[in-house]
Amino acid sequence: MFANDNLILQMQGIVKEFSGTRALDKVDFDVRCGEVHALIGENGAGKSTLMNVLAGRFNNYHGRITFDGHQVRITNPRQARDMGIAIIYQELSVLANFTVAENIMLGDEKAGRWTRKLDRAFINAGARDIIDYLRFDLDPDEPVERLSKARQCLVEIACAVRRKVKLLVFDEPTASLGSEDVDKLFEVIKDLKSRGLAIVYISHRLAELPIIADRVTVLRDGGKTGTMEIPECRISDLTRMMLGHDLAEVFPEKTNQPGKVILKVDGLSRPGAFENISFELREGEILGIAGLVGSGRTEIIRAIFGADKAHGKVVFQGRPIVGRSPYLCRALGIGMVPENRKQQGSITGRPVSENLNISILGRLSGVLGFQSSRRLTSQARLMIEQMKIHPPLPDIDIENLSGGNQQKVIVGRWLAAESKVIIFDEPTQGIDVGTKSQMYRLIVELACQGRAIILISSELIEITKLADRILVIRDGRLVREMQGPGTDEDALFAECVRKDNPE
C-alpha cells in the first residue's frame, strides 16, 4: 500500500470470529479525508461487522487500525466516539423524548457551579450554531418524536458534527427513506464531504454509488474482493464481485403454474399504515410485493395473517376469515415466515425439533395432550431430511444453526402444518448466497406443488426473478401491478420510489 497523507483511517488484516465462524477474514479498508467511500456487499458479507469493529463494539478482533495518524485499538464505543468516529445506523439512536436541541447537545450540557442548574440557553445557542453551520432545516425546539426519519437522521448528523467528528459512517441510510429524502441526504453528504469529513457509505443499492461515492470496496463472505475508483467500475462488475458469480446462476427456472384463486384480499386498511389494499392470490402462484422499507408492505401481510388488526375482508378458499389471528390462519392453512428471524421466527433456546413442530403440536399429541418425544423427533427428522437442514440433528438448540438453516426450520414449520398459503417476509435477509439459492429453489418448488406464495423482499432482483406478478406498494397504497417475468430490477425500483404528484 502506498503512503497517502490524506488517509484518515487505515484498517489492515481485520479478522473477527463469532464462535468459530469467521465473519471477517483479513479485510483491509481505508478512507481518505474528503471522500465518500462506499462499502458494499450482500447481507452477511461483513459490512456491518467491519463497521462495528470500527465503532468499538467488539474488543476481540485481530488486525491493525490506524486512525488520524495513530495506531489504535478500539475496544469500546465511547472510545470510538471520542476519537471522532460516528456511525449513523438504520435504527437511529436519537432520544425521542428530547427536543432537537437537547439531542444535539446531549453530553455537553453546562450546569451552574453551585446551583447545578442546567444551562438551557447554552443548549439552545449551541444547537442553533450547529444547525446554522450545517444549513439544516431544523427547529431546535421541536420534539424529535415528531420528526420524520429523514429529519431524525439530520439530528444525528448534527450531533456528530457537534462532537467534531472526523469519520462519519452511514449504515444503509437510504433503506428506509423516500426518494426526495434520499436526494436531500445526498446533498447533505456532499456538503459534509466538501467540509473535509471522511465518509463511509454502506449500501447494497448499486445504483446509488455513481451519484454519491468516490471509491467502492466490495466484501463477500467476510473477505474483501476489491476496491475500485467509482469512475472506473461498471455495475455488472460490482454485482459479480458481490455475488462471486453471475446472477443468472443463482435463480432456478420457474416451472410453477398459477391455478384458481385461493386467497382474496378486499379493501384492507389500517389507518396510518396502509389503505384500501385489494388483490387476489392463486394456487401455485408466486406473488411479489415490492416497496421500500416503511412503505407498509410488512404491515399488510401481518394484517392478512391476523398479527395486526385491520379493516377489510380476507377471503380464503371462498370463505371470509372472521376474526383473523395467527392462530386461526394457521388452522386454516396460512403460514408466515416473518421478517425478523431472531425475534419473530426462531424460538431460541429450544431444540430444532420443537421449532419445527410448534405449529402441529396439537396433531402430534396423544391422550390427554401427552407429547411423545419419540414422535416429535421422528416427525422432525422427516422435515430435516426434506428441507436439507444442516446439521441434521433434531435435538440441538436452534441458535446453533446458521441463519439460512434457521430459516429452513421456520419454513419447515409451515410445511409440516401443510399450509396452502405461505407468506415470506424478507426470507433471504442475512443468509449466505448458497442458502439463498436453495431458498429460491424451495419457493419455486412449493409453488409447483400448488401452494400459493407471497414474497416480500428488499432485494428487488429476487422479486423480479421469482414472482409471477408484482404488487408495488408506496406510502401504504397499492400503486401498481406488474408482470413478474420480464420486469427489469431498475424499473421496479423506480416504481417503488417514484414520487406522487401531490393533489
Partner: protein, 345 residues
C-alpha cells in the same frame, strides 16, 4: 414532498403528544370530579380536618417515597425495596434515639436522623451499585434486597418486636415531626409537619428533575440509555444516584412514620412499595421511563388516596378498597396502553 413529509409526520406523532396531555388532564379531571362528587355526598369530605389533617397528612410519607421512586422510574428503573428500606430506617431511627437518650434530645434526635439518612442512602447505594454498576435487572435486585432489608429489620428488632423510645420525654419531643401544626393559613387552618416536609422535598425534587443537569440526564437515560451513554453521559452514576435518592426519601418517610406511631416495627409498611409504584404509574410515568414527572406522581397519589378516603367515608371495608384500588390501576394503565397502540400507527 416536504409538505407530504410534514403531513405524515403530523399524522404519526401529533396524537401521542396530545394523548400525553390528555391522559394527564384526564387523571386530574377524574381527581377533581371525585372530589366534587365526594363533597356532594359527604359533608365531611371537604372539611379541613378530613382533607388536610387526615388525607394529606397520611399521604405525605408515601408521597415523599413516591418522589424518589419517580426519579428511579423515569430513568427506566424500578424499586421494590422501598417499604423494606423504610422499615430498616424506622428501626434504626428508634434504636439510635433510644441508645442516645442519656445525652439529651438535642443530641439524640439530630444524630439519630443523620444516621438514619445515612442508612437510607447506604441501602439505596447497594441497589444502585448492583443495578447500574453490575448490571443486574432492577426487578431482580430490588426483589432480593426487599427480602434482605426486611430480614435486617427483623434482626435489628430481635425478631420483630415493636421498638419504642423508652425515654418518654424524648419520644414526645420527636413526635413534633408529626404533630406540629404550622398556622400557614391562620389559626383555623393549620398545616401539619408531614405536609410541610413533603412540600419541601417536592419542591427540591422538582428543581432537581426539571432544572438541573442531573434531572436532564435522568430523562435521557429513560429515553435511550445506550444513546445517552454514547453521548458521554455517565449513565451508571446517574442511574445509581436515582436509587440513592430513593433510599434517602425512604429515610425521610421513616422519620414521619416513627413520629406518627411513636414505634418502629420490622413488619411495618409491607406492601407499601406497590402503592408507591402504583401512584407513579397512575400519574403517567411509564414503566420504561423517559417521561413523566413529580406533579403527575402527586396527582396519581392523590387520586388513589382520595378514592380510598372516599370509600372509607362510605364505610367500605379495607378488603373492598384493595379491590377498587387494583381495578383503578388496571383501568388507568389499560387506557394508556390502548391509546398508545391507537396512536402508534
Amino acid at each position: 414532498m416536504r409538505t407530504e413529509a410534514k403531513k405524515s409526520d403530523a399524522g404519526r406523532t401529533k396524537s401521542p403528544l396530545s394523548f400525553r396531555k390528555l391522559q394527564k388532564a384526564s387523571i386530574l379531571l377524574l381527581l377533581v370530579g371525585l372530589c366534587a362528587f365526594a363533597s356532594f355526598r359527604s359533608p365531611t369530605f371537604f372539611s379541613w380536618t378530613n382533607l388536610v389533617d387526615n388525607l394529606l397528612t397520611n399521604a405525605a410519607a408515601l408521597g415523599v417515597i413516591a418522589i424518589g421512586m419517580t426519579f428511579v422510574m423515569i430513568a427506566g428503573g424500578f424499586d421494590l425495596s422501598v417499604a423494606s428500606t423504610t422499615a430498616v430506617c424506622s428501626v434504626v431511627l428508634v434504636l439510635t434515639m433510644d441508645a442516645l437518650s442519656p445525652y439529651g434530645a438535642a443530641l439524640a434526635i439530630p444524630a439519630a436522623l443523620l444516621l438514619t439518612s445515612l442508612v437510607g442512602i447506604g441501602l439505596g447505594t447497594i441497589n444502585g451499585m448492583l443495578i447500574a454498576g453490575v448490571g443486574v435487572n432492577p426487578f431482580v435486585v430490588t426483589l432480593s434486597t426487599m427480602l434482605v432489608f426486611r430480614g435486617i429489620a427483623l434482626i435489628l428488632t430481635g425478631g420483630g418486636q415493636a421498638k419504642q423510645v423508652a425515654d418518654i420525654n424524648l419520644r414526645n419531643q420527636f413526635n413534633w415531626v408529626y404533630d406540629a401544626q404550622l398556622p400557614l393559613f391562620g389559626q383555623d387552618y393549620q398545616v401539619s409537619m408531614p405536609i410541610v416536609i413533603f412540600l419541601v422535598v417536592f419542591c427540591l425534587g422538582i428543581y432537581l428533575l426539571r432544572f438541573t443537569r442531573f434531572g436532564h440526564y435522568v430523562f435521557a437515560i429513560g429515553g435511550n440509555e445506550e444513546a445517552a451513554w454514547l453521548a458521554g453521559v455517565n449513565t451508571h452514576r446517574i442511574k445509581a444516584a436515582t436509587y440513592v435518592l430513593c433510599g434517602f426519601t425512604c429515610a425521610i418517610a421513616a422519620a414521619i412514620f416513627v413520629a406518627m406511631t411513636a414505634t418502629a416495627q420490622a413488619e411495618s409498611h409491607v406492601g407499601k412499595e406497590l402503592v408507591v409504584i402504583a401512584s407513579v404509574i397512575v400519574g403517567g410515568t411509564p414503566l420504561g421511563g423517559g417521561s413523566g414527572g413529580l406533579t403527575s406522581t402527586l396527582i396519581g397519589l392523590l387520586l388513589l388516596r382520595v378514592i380510598d378516603n372516599l370509600l372509607a367515608q362510605f364505610s367500605v371495608g379495607a378488603e373492598y378498597r384493595k379491590v377498587v384500588t387494583g381495578m383503578i390501576i388496571i383501568v388507568v394503565v389499560t387506557v394508556d396502553v390502548l391509546a398508545k397502540r391507537r396512536s402508534r400507527k
